[in-house]
C-alpha cells in the first residue's frame, strides 16, 4: 500500500498537471472546429476565448503551425487592415480528422457521463431532504 502525503499545494500542482493533459487534446479539437471559417492567430484566440476556452498565445500560435505542418490546416498570407496576416482554415484532411475526433470525443464523454452520473445521482439522493416526490418514482415503488 502506498501512502502519499498530499498537501494542498501539491494537490494544486497535481490538478494543474492533470488539467493540462486533459486540455491538450481538447484544444486541438477546439482549434480545428473553430477554423471551419478562416481566421488569423489573434482573432482565433479571441473567438476561442469568447466561447469560454482561454488559451495562451504562446500555446496557440505554435499549435497552428504544427497543425498546418501535419496537413490539417491550410494557410495563406493576405493583407487586412493594411497589415499582412496569415489566415488559417481547415483542410479537407483536417475536416475528416475533426469529424473522427468529435465522434471519439462524444463517445468518451458519453462513457464518462455514464460512469459519473449514477454516482452523482446516488449522492444527491442521499443528501436531499426530504426525498424527491417523483410521481414516476412513487409509482415504481408501489409496483415493486
Amino acid at each position: 500500500m502506498i501512502i502519499a502525503s498530499t498537501t494542498p499545494a501539491s494537490l494544486t500542482d497535481l490538478f494543474d498537471a492533470l488539467r493540462l493533459e486533459l486540455r491538450r487534446g481538447c484544444l486541438v479539437v477546439a482549434v480545428l472546429a473553430q477554423l471551419k471559417s478562416e481566421q488569423y492567430g489573434y482573432t482565433l484566440r479571441k473567438s476561442l476565448s469568447d466561447d469560454g476556452l482561454i488559451i495562451d498565445e504562446s500555446t496557440l500560435y505554435p499549435l497552428l503551425r504544427r497543425l498546418e505542418s501535419q496537413g490539417l490546416l491550410l494557410s495563406e498570407w493576405r493583407e487586412e487592415n493594411k497589415r499582412n496576416k496569415r489566415f488559417y482554415r481547415l483542410s479537407p484532411a483536417g475536416a475528416q480528422v475533426l469529424d473522427q475526433l468529435l465522434e471519439e470525443w462524444r463517445r468518451i464523454n458519453a462513457s464518462i457521463d455514464r460512469m459519473v452520473e449514477p454516482h452523482t445521482a446516488k449522492r444527491s439522493a442521499h443528501d436531499a431532504t426530504p426525498a424527491p416526490t417523483d410521481p414516476q418514482h412513487d409509482l415504481a415503488a408501489k409496483e415493486s
Partner: protein
C-alpha cells in the same frame, strides 16, 4: 512600436534558423493585430503600459521561442535536469565551450610536445561539460521553483540593433591595435619595447640584457614584410573611414570582402612558408633554444591556421550581408 521590435528581436535569437523569418512575421502580425484591436476598442493609441501588458501576455521571449521548436529536447538523468526552454541555449553554449576547450588544449599540448589524443582531451572536456551543465541545471531548478523566466520585464529588453551600424568603439580598438602593429613593424624606436613591456612587465629587461636574441626571423619574412605592411595600412584606412561614417554600404562591404580575401591569401602563404623563426647561431647556448624554436613555430603555425579560419568565416558573413542588403532594406527588416 519600438517595444514590439525589441521583443521580436529577443524571440529571434532563440528560434530555429530555418523558420525564423516566417515565425517572426506571423508573431508580429498577431501582436500588432491585437494592439490594433485594443486601440480600436479604446478609441486611442495604447500607452506604453498597455503595450507592455500585451507583450507580457505573450510570454517571455525564450519561452515563446521554445514553443515553436519541434524537437523539444531535454537533458534527462532520471528526471529532467534541463528542460526544453533552456536546452537550445545549453546546447549552443556547451558546443562553443567544448570546441574552444578542444582547440586551445590541442594547441597548448602541441606546443608543449604532448601527444594530442582522446585521453588527453577527455578531462578538460569533462570539466567544461560539468560546469556548464551545473549552471544550467541551477537555472532550471530556479525556473521550476521561482518561475524566473516568467518574471521578465519588457522595459529591460535591449534596444533594436541596427545590423548596418558599425560600432565606433570596436573600430577604434581595431585601428589602435593595427597602428601599434605598424609602429612595431616599422621598428619605430621604443614601440616594440612598449609592447613587450605591456606583455612581460619588468621582465622585459632580461630580454634587453641578453647578448643576442635567441631566435631570428626566417628569410621568408623578407617576402612578406611589405605585403603585410600594405595590408595593415589598407585595413587602418578602411577603419578610419568606418569610424568617420559608421554605417555599412554595399560598396564598403565589397571593399571589406576584398581586403579580407587579401588577408586570407597572406595567411595561406604564411602557412605554407614553413618555419618562420630560427635559432640565432650567434646567441649564447644556441643549441638550447632548438626546442623553443619548435614550440614557437608550432604556435605560430596553428595561430595562422586559426586566423585563416576566422577570416574565412568573416568573409562568408560579409557576403551574406551583401546578399541581404537590397536597396529597399530598412534596418529593422534586415534585422528580422
Amino acid at each position: 512600436m519600438q517595444l514590439v521590435d525589441r521583443y521580436l528581436q529577443e524571440v529571434k535569437h532563440c528560434l530555429p534558423a530555418a523558420q525564423r523569418d516566417d515565425i517572426l512575421k506571423e508573431l508580429s502580425a498577431n501582436i500588432l493585430g491585437e494592439m490594433d484591436d485594443r486601440e480600436a476598442a479604446l478609441g486611442r493609441p495604447l500607452t506604453e503600459d498597455e503595450q507592455i501588458a500585451i507583450l507580457q501576455q505573450q510570454g517571455s521571449p525564450m519561452v515563446v521561442a521554445s514553443r515553436y521548436r519541434h524537437d523539444q529536447r531535454t537533458f534527462t538523468f532520471g528526471r529532467v535536469i534541463i528542460g526544453p526552454a533552456l536546452f537550445p541555449l545549453y546546447a549552443k553554449i556547451l558546443t562553443l565551450n567544448l570546441t574552444i576547450t578542444v582547440v586551445v588544449s590541442s594547441i597548448v599540448m602541441t606546443a608543449l610536445g604532448v601527444r594530442v589524443g582522446l585521453t588527453a582531451l577527455f578531462w578538460p572536456a569533462l570539466l567544461q561539460f560539468s560546469i556548464v551543465t551545473a549552471i544550467f541545471a541551477g537555472i532550471e531548478q530556479s525556473q521550476n521553483k521561482f518561475h524566473i523566466l516568467d518574471r521578465w520585464n519588457p522595459r529591460a529588453l535591449p534596444p533594436v540593433r541596427d545590423p548596418l551600424k558599425i560600432s565606433r568603439a570596436n573600430t577604434f580598438f581595431e585601428m589602435f591595435v593595427n597602428l601599434v602593429f605598424v609602429l612595431c613593424w616599422l621598428h619605430v624606436p621604443g614601440a616594440t619595447y612598449a609592447v613587450a613591456y605591456l606583455f612581460l612587465g619588468p621582465a622585459v629587461r632580461y630580454l634587453e640584457a641578453a647578448s643576442a636574441d635567441p631566435l631570428v626571423y626566417a628569410p621568408a619574412w623578407q617576402i612578406f614584410y611589405l605585403p603585410i605592411l600594405l595590408f595593415v595600412l589598407l585595413s587602418v584606412a578602411q577603419q578610419g573611414l568606418n569610424f568617420a561614417f559608421p554605417r555599412w554600404t554595399r560598396s564598403r562591404l565589397i571593399a571589406r570582402v576584398s581586403l579580407s580575401s587579401l588577408g586570407l591569401l597572406l595567411t595561406f602563404l604564411l602557412f605554407r612558408a614553413g618555419d618562420l623563426f630560427l635559432v640565432n647561431p650567434e646567441a649564447t647556448h644556441a643549441t638550447q633554444y632548438a626546442g623553443l624554436a619548435v614550440a614557437i613555430n608550432a604556435v605560430v603555425h596553428y595561430s595562422v591556421l586559426g586566423g585563416a579560419l576566422i577570416t574565412l568565416c568573416q568573409i562568408a558573413w560579409q557576403i551574406r550581408r551583401i546578399l541581404r542588403l537590397t536597396p529597399q532594406t530598412s534596418s529593422v527588416a534586415a534585422a528580422f
